[in-house]
């Protein structure tokens, strides 16, 4: 017996009982089920926790089964605890690790699978049992399943499969989407297998999920996730602040290349706002990019991007024409700021060398503004969420 293929996103038009639709990279292909196929590298899978209903299913196809017969099949966590004292200890250690990185898919419930004369099954729908998809925090998980078949002597292992799973809070928000438009609408009349879709580059990218889920690992709320992304953007050691935008649009693929490139590089507030908003929204947050037209006055000292609060030279002031940041809420002063470009000084005297650095993460705008400017300025009524490329 062997597993031929496993489909996680078996209904690309829905995310309530299966995985969401993603693509490898901007330039890469859409990841279409089966994400696991015999003799091929496994493709990553993403679940939108908040969008899932009560039952989560996968589909799988099996081969080398009993011809013209039925076999009872299931899959269990391949990293099940051992027995004995050592096993108990391992169990607790693994349980702790699994909280952040381990199996989130649980096991695959038992099912009687029919095989044809050649020993092949059809594509069977299987229900995930004891999964933690609805209760897990944001993260990147690995699930290893041991597939078993029921015989007279009990369950027998026949295969182990491994899967990389991204868990996000909810459906990714703009600029990301889940739109799948068939090239020819009449194709919808047939089964979805084999339908050719337009190349939608705004489907969540796996390489962006890798970064966002890593930066916001452990977050359970939108505020926590957006805050974690904001702090992460601010603290990337390769980044150096400049006034120019280098990733306008948002040229996320180039930004990701830079992050992984090993050399230092420049970003400005727009780049940081793009990164915060886009990566947070990838996880299901609801941020916007918001302009504040500053009155060309010198800012109060703030801690520069990736700055060291103990270094006086990292507390800087600029005369800006504008500043941009991540934003939660409508374009009026009642919104909250998620600014990955800087840390404000919470010390009330901007003229001394005593500084208390604070990341603006969900900071009410009036308080944030007062930490940076004495003058008024204005918010741009047009908020942005920029397409990624």
């Amino acid at each position: 017996m062997k597993v031929r293929e496993i489909h996680f996103n078996h209904d690309p038009l829905s995310m309530s009982s299966d995985a969401i639709t993603i693509r490898q990279t901007y330039a890469g292909d859409r990841i279409a089920a089966p994400e696991w196929r015999e003799a091929y590298p496994a493709l990553p899978v993403a679940y939108a926790s908040g969008a899932l209903g009560g039952t989560v299913t996968i589909k799988a196809r099996f081969a080398n089964g009993p011809p013209n017969s039925v076999a009872r099949i299931r899959a269990i966590d391949a990293d099940l605890p051992q027995t004995g004292c050592l096993g108990l200890l391992l169990y607790f250690i693994l349980s702790f690790i699994k909280t952040f990185a381990g199996n989130v898919l649980g096991s695959v419930g038992e099912k009687d699978v029919s095989f044809d004369a050649s020993g092949n099954s059809s594509l069977e729908t299987l229900v995930l049992a004891n999964h933690k998809l609805k209760t897990s925090a944001v993260g990147i998980r690995t699930t290893r399943w041991t597939w078993q078949v029921r015989g007279e002597d009990g369950w027998t292992d026949f295969e182990t499969t491994q899967h990389r799973i991204y868990v996000i809070l909810g459906a990714s928000r703009s600029p990301w989407n889940q739109q799948l438009t068939p090239v020819a609408t009449q194709l919808l009349l047939g089964p979805l297998d084999g339908v050719i879709f337009f190349n939608n580059t705004q489907l969540p990218w796996a390489d962006a999920l890798e970064v966002a889920c890593s930066w916001a690992a452990g977050s359970r709320t939108a505020h926590d996730a957006a805050s974690a992304i904001t702090r992460a953007v601010n603290s990337r050691t390769l980044q150096v602040y400049d006034t120019q935008t280098y990733f306008g649009g948002f040229w996320l693929s180039n930004y990701l290349t830079m992050l992984n490139g090993g050399g230092s590089f420049l970003t400005n507030c727009t780049d940081c706002a793009n990164a915060v908003t886009t990566l947070a929204n990838l996880l299901g947050c609801d941020l916007w990019e918001q302009y504040f037209f500053t009155p060309f006055d010198l800012t109060k000292p703030f801690l520069t991007l990736n700055g060291d609060p103990l270094l006086e030279s990292d507390w800087v002031s600029y005369t800006w024409s504008y500043h941009e940041f991540g934003w939660l809420g409508p374009a009026n002063p009642s919104g909250s700021v998620y600014d990955g470009c800087l840390q404000v000084d919470m010390d009330d005297n901007p003229n001394d060398e005593i500084h208390i650095a604070k990341h603006p993460t969900g900071m009410p705008f009036p308080g944030y503004k007062d930490r940076l400017w004495d003058a008024t300025g204005g918010l741009d009524p047009a908020q942005a969420r920029r397409a990624v490329f």
């Binding site: 400049d242 180039n254 050399g263 230092s264 507030c269 005369t319 800006w320 504008y322």
Partner: protein, 244 residues
């Protein structure tokens, strides 16, 4: 990036400085290693989703110091006017209250970051808009790089060999009307090879795979086209077109 014209940079005034009697057009230009102090090119990416102008980004690393890096973005536009608009859009994406003009002698229009900011030069040469910036933690004086690249663009190497790759326009054109030229190379240029075309007596822009020459006065449009490929001698040819 801000897309609204906030009045800090006067596009019309910049366009007014552009000659209507001479022009330069570049196709496929990217900097070569010899333009970049022999530094290592760590990135060469074509920016996708560009509406008006295609953009190629190269990043050059000092082999002796990974934190000394220079970014060169080359926006290849259809015309010098489009290049100026790209330049202004780039400047509007700068948080500085105002990016001053300079350095003198570079490009048709040039701006530079003031002292105290990360060194950067932004300029237009023909249909190209270039951004050159000290891009790493280590500050690199960028004006000499800009001078070198601009000099490379203006350079008209003498060539023993001639290759005519333009067709059309034999009948000439009326003053003010378009002289449509098509270009086709007999081979695919080597990586980082490019074309540059210098025009006297009129302007030149690219449109839908063709070149459009135009003169405001009767006379002649003189055109010099050069094929530049790294490690190979340049090829060039001259041609005149009647304007009546």
């Amino acid at each position: 990036m801000r897309n609204t014209d906030d009045g800090r940079y006067n596009v019309e005034a910049m366009l007014g400085r552009i000659s209507t009697d001479r022009a330069e057009l570049f196709l496929g230009f990217v900097p070569w290693q010899e333009d970049c102090e022999g530094w290592t090119r760590s990135m060469r990416e074509l920016r996708p989703e560009s509406a008006e102008c295609s953009m190629t980004r190269t990043i050059w690393d000092d082999p002796a110091d990974r934190n000394a890096r220079v970014l060169i973005d080359v926006y290849e536009c259809h015309s010098v006017a489009d290049a100026v608009r790209s330049l202004v859009q780039m400047l509007q994406g700068d948080q500085l209250a105002l990016v001053p003009e300079g350095p003198p002698g570079i490009g048709d229009v040039a701006f530079m970051h003031p002292p105290g900011s990360s060194p950067a030069v932004f300029f237009v040469r023909g249909n190209l808009c270039l951004r050159m910036a000290s891009f790493g933690r280590q500050v690199v004086p960028i004006a000499p790089w800009a001078e070198r690249i601009d000099s490379r663009l203006r350079d008209r190497p003498s060539s023993a060999q001639s290759l005519d790759f333009l067709s059309g326009g034999e009948q000439g054109a009326k003053a003010g009307e378009a002289l449509v030229l098509t270009y086709e190379l007999p081979w695919r240029l080597a990586e980082d090879g490019y074309l540059k075309i210098f025009v006297e007596g009129g302007t030149l822009e690219r449109a839908n795979g063709t070149l459009i020459a135009r003169a405001v006065q009767p006379g002649q449009i003189e055109l010099e086209a050069i094929i530049a490929e790294a490690g190979r001698p340049s090829l060039s040819f001259h041609r005149s077109y009647r304007i009546y």
